[in-house]
Amino acid sequence: MGTKNRIIFHIDVNSAYLSWEAAYRLQHGATLDLRTIPSAVGGDATTRHGIILAKSIPTKPYKIQTGESLYSARLKCPNLTVVPPRYHLYMQCSKALVSLLEEFSPSIQRFSIDEVFLDYSNMDIHWGDPIDAAHRIKDRIKEELGFTVNIGVSSNKLLAKMASDFEKPDRVHTLFPHEIQGKMWPLPVEELFMVGRATTSKLHKKGIFTIGQLAISDPELLTQWLKSHGRLIWQLANGLEDSPIREDYPVKGLGNSATLPFDAEDRETSHRALLSLTETVAMRLRDIRKFAGVLSISIKDRDFQSYSHQRKLEVPTHSTNILYGIACELFDELWQGQPLRHLGVRASQLHRDDLYQLSFFKGDIERQKALDTAVDKIRAQYGCDSVMRSSFLYSGLSPMMGGVIQEEEYPMMSSLL
């Protein structure tokens, strides 16, 4: 593809989890729009632990951070309205967003649950000028799906993503190469994609505070000093990036963890908690059509000591039952008998699920698959709690704990965007 005429959109949902909850509530007769008051989506407030997952724009003066504990957020803003996360709703909104976008281009990359790249190159013959089209897409999403997005328009994915992060909400911004100096260089260097906290403090020590200062630094010196990452961020600061739209979902691993409502003191309770966590992880794997190649579990005891243990699977899978069995084995090898307050399950080394090795020993893969598919369908239609394992009755544990899956580790920058 000629890189000269590329037009890339980056569509980013404004305060995604919160906006989606707000739209859902309005549709179900709520008279108050959560987006208009200080509000946040947070871990279950009835359990001991919870963090802020998303926050409304009116929380801005209170300086609440995503990832901060609910407790400290409430200290900053006593009248904060906190709503619990609803994972299925997020998937539903994300899918609706993608299917609306598919009307505008066949080349779409889901970058995360609330971020999508769309290749608009040569689409102007169908839908007209890119900026007009971006406005139409933005307005249709707002009108039809009830939430707002920012759309960044440029000639590559990096610049489109940087552009969508300009003033929010409900805006279209461009950041074409000739606009880099004016629009991107004055920004603090930590706002550049791929510049994390550690790199930021290294750059600050050398007197590099803005993206522009990084861009005009000597790339050779940066490479000597920060290795390949140095060259990479120098390229990004200059807007140099040409990765294609990847239609495959790029997530490398995903995990789910939860602090229990009470300490787990026996093996059965811990196993049940692992089942609850595995259910959601496996469902998400099936949803993105990936097999797990490695499964790991982590536990945290009363004294906040953490331990973890992992295993490479002989046969990659996304079957709830098989993953749960392995999680239990890992647990039995790891656990020393101490009471536990926190457990986690994580799948990594993900493979496409349409290619799998037949194993004589693992048997009835097709039957497991049919069972999982049936359960997923029922849950998608009638809600998460429509089907649950009887072992959760009277256990005090939720059949699907955690609520929000943490998706991690997008591929590194060379292949990252």
Binding site: Y24, Q27, G29, Q92, A96, L97, E144, Q381
Partner: protein, 100 residues
């Protein structure tokens, strides 16, 4: 309870309820639903059965990716002609009185 007589300019006068109801509906061969008769719990705990006299308008939407059909209907309720809105949520097969 407020009573709205002849709420022709209904948009301004109807109250948002979003109350789940029991519904008998008619589905065409093409899968197009039309409400026929429903039973709704009243504030005092008793039930009222309402026959849908006329479906005036039908509007589809999918806010939050959740498809719903809103019907504007007309019935005789407690001897008075009323306009109201009913909603059908496709994913859950639930019916609601949305505004009355």
């Amino acid at each position: 309870m407020k009573v709205y007589y002849y709420n022709r300019n209904y948009g301004d006068f109807m109250k948002v309820l979003m109350k789940p109801i029991e519904m008998i509906a008619w589905f065409t061969q093409d899968g197009l639903p039309t409400p026929v008769r429903f039973r709704m719990e009243q504030p005092n705990g008793s039930y009222i059965v309402i026959k849908v006299a006329r479906t005036i308008a039908r509007q589809e939407e999918k806010l939050a990716g959740n498809p719903m059909i809103t019907f504007t209907c007309q019935s005789i309720v407690h001897g008075m002609e009323r306009l109201y809105e009913i909603r059908y949520e496709l994913k859950t097969c639930k019916w609601y009185v949305y505004k009355i």
